[in-house]
């Protein structure tokens, strides 16, 4: 029993929380761009948070369900619907066998996450179901979805189906972007922060940067004032993180995202606070972004609070399951 892909959309790929543990072999982490939406979608679909979800970019696929399936869609609102009925975002939804899930106009965001109860049944490669697009392994056949693909679904728990009916009454968890729609994206100083000019510091914290249309899962390229070093810097390749902001010699910063290389040799002016990475992941080309510096201890405190919020969402879902 499975889901049939009638139309794939421009870039729909299976991703989980990433292929950590293999970067020392040069294997990139991959994984979802927006961890919040992925994790919440899995919770609402009754899955562990590390289960793979379908990351859908800008335009949705058309999927035909061959069995009753519990799903949840979080992140970008791409107007999902079944027949004429809109599918509510960030809620568990029971899709009946024979139904077709379609998407329409993009209302907000860049990436939607579709979780199905039981998960997608694909063989993990190096302990992850994430698709490594360039190397062609992981996920579904190592690639983005194509027309005609059949996605197998894992074992489903009937108790979860019953719980789904109850949880409709609950308020859908809000994406962090809703609290901070126009707020600046927070960052901590990068390792080479002090190698940049005072002007670069002022510009990065004060000016708006536009998301370049060349941005993708590997990195967000930003257009704005060019950022200069006080003196040329001879760098040796070293590890980089999700959200590292590196500045090549042309002075245009690049935020490293899910498909970043394991190491890099450009100076890093900043690292985006992990709580604000979902905001970036949902930013679309041409969108204007502003940045605000915070201290590392504050970034980590925000991260810990965010983890508690996710725990709360899981707890309320589990309570519903227990209360049926």
């Amino acid at each position: 029993m499975s889901i049939r892909v009638l139309k794939p959309g421009p870039l729909s790929s299976l991703q989980d929380l990433g292929r950590y543990g293999y970067q020392r072999f040069g294997v990139i982490v991959s994984g979802v761009m927006d961890e919040w939406s992925h994790r919440v979608a899995n919770i609402l679909a009754g899955n562990p948070e590390h289960e793979a979800s379908l990351e859908i970019t800008l335009m949705g696929p058309s999927l035909s369900f061959e069995q009753d399936t519990l799903i949840a869609i979080c992140g970008a609102d791409l107007s999902p619907r079944i027949g004429e009925s809109p599918v509510p975002m960030a809620s568990p939804v029971l899709v009946r066998a024979g139904s077709q899930l379609d998407f329409g106009k993009r209302v907000s965001g860049c990436r939607a996450y579709l979780a199905v109860h039981g998960g997608f049944r694909v063989a993990p490669v190096m302990a992850s179901k994430s698709t490594y697009l360039r190397a062609g392994f992981g996920g579904f056949a190592g690639r983005a979805l194509k027309k005609g693909d059949l996605l197998d679904i894992g074992e489903q728990d009937p108790a979860i189906f019953a719980a789904a009916a109850h949880s409709r009454a609950g308020k859908p968890p809000a994406h962090p972007v809703t609290d901070r729609a126009d707020a600046p994206i927070r960052f901590v100083a990068g390792q080479q922060w002090s190698a940049f000019t005072a002007q670069a510091h002022r510009d990065f914290c004060g000016q708006a940067f536009r998301v370049d249309s060349n941005s993708d899962r590997m990195g967000y390229r930003l257009q704005g004032p060019t950022l200069s070093l006080t003196a040329p810097l001879e760098m040796i390749s070293e590890g980089v993180a999700f959200g590292s902001v590196q500045v090549p010699p042309d002075g245009n910063p690049i935020v490293l995202m899910a498909d970043r290389q394991t190491t890099g040799g450009y100076p890093k002016i900043a690292a985006i606070a992990s709580v604000d990475l979902p905001l970036l992941a949902q930013a679309v080309p041409q969108q204007l972004l502003r940045f605000e510096r915070i201290e590392l201890a504050d970034a980590q405190r925000l991260h810990l609070e965010r983890e508690l919020r996710i725990k709360d969402i899981r707890r309320s879902f589990d309570n519903l399951k227990g209360a049926r």
């Binding site: 970067q23 020392r24 490669v125 390749s237 993180a241 590392l296 810990l304």
Partner: protein, 245 residues
Amino acid sequence: MEPVATKDWRIEPVSDRCLMVVFGQKVDPAINARVHALADHLIDQPVAGVIDVVPAFTTVAVHYRPEQIAGVGAASSPHDALERTIAAILARGVTATRTEARTVDIPVCYDEEFGPDLLEVAQACGLSREEVIRRHGTSDHVVYMLGFAPGFPYMGGLDASLAMPRRSTPRVKIPAGTVAIAREQSSVYTLETPGGWNLIGRTPLQLFRPRNDPPTLLRPGDHVRFVPISRERFDELDRQAGESA
């Protein structure tokens, strides 16, 4: 072996989920040995909350889940707590676990089809094609790190007379297996990727094997010998590799 990596290091934050241990500022075998001694230690005796350890030339990046290191209300931040843990490990001293270095032979066909830059390298270095091949083959290549692409080895030790800058315009597509040099380094492209190194040959060996454990042919610390082979031998080995894949 004697414990190494007991002094001359510092720890810096990379992000709110990653920190870095820095052992030096130059590409040097002794510094790199300390890097891998710490990385091996952190892999063999995992620290709770650490999800990835990434050794490079002079640094070890440590990726972690902050909530698994120190929770809300803890006396110190996750970064400070992990920094202390790693500082304590370094203070005790970590021992290099690799007692003997491996030597790995990599067969290379240097035909022009596979090594389009070989002639240019020879001319720039004032050497014959054959002499470039000989010096590439007799250089003591040592793997410092894997990066850029899966299984892509950064190897030092190239004969200094073959040092060439990277190409000013990188190529868009370089076939997997292509053997390349830049400055005093050698490598092998493991996936079809863009790249700016000088291409001098091709190996039929697969340096990255996603379904193997470990997934790479080479490991940091390995010595590599490039062994020239004919086009016929290349085709034969290439066929065998295709059949076993």
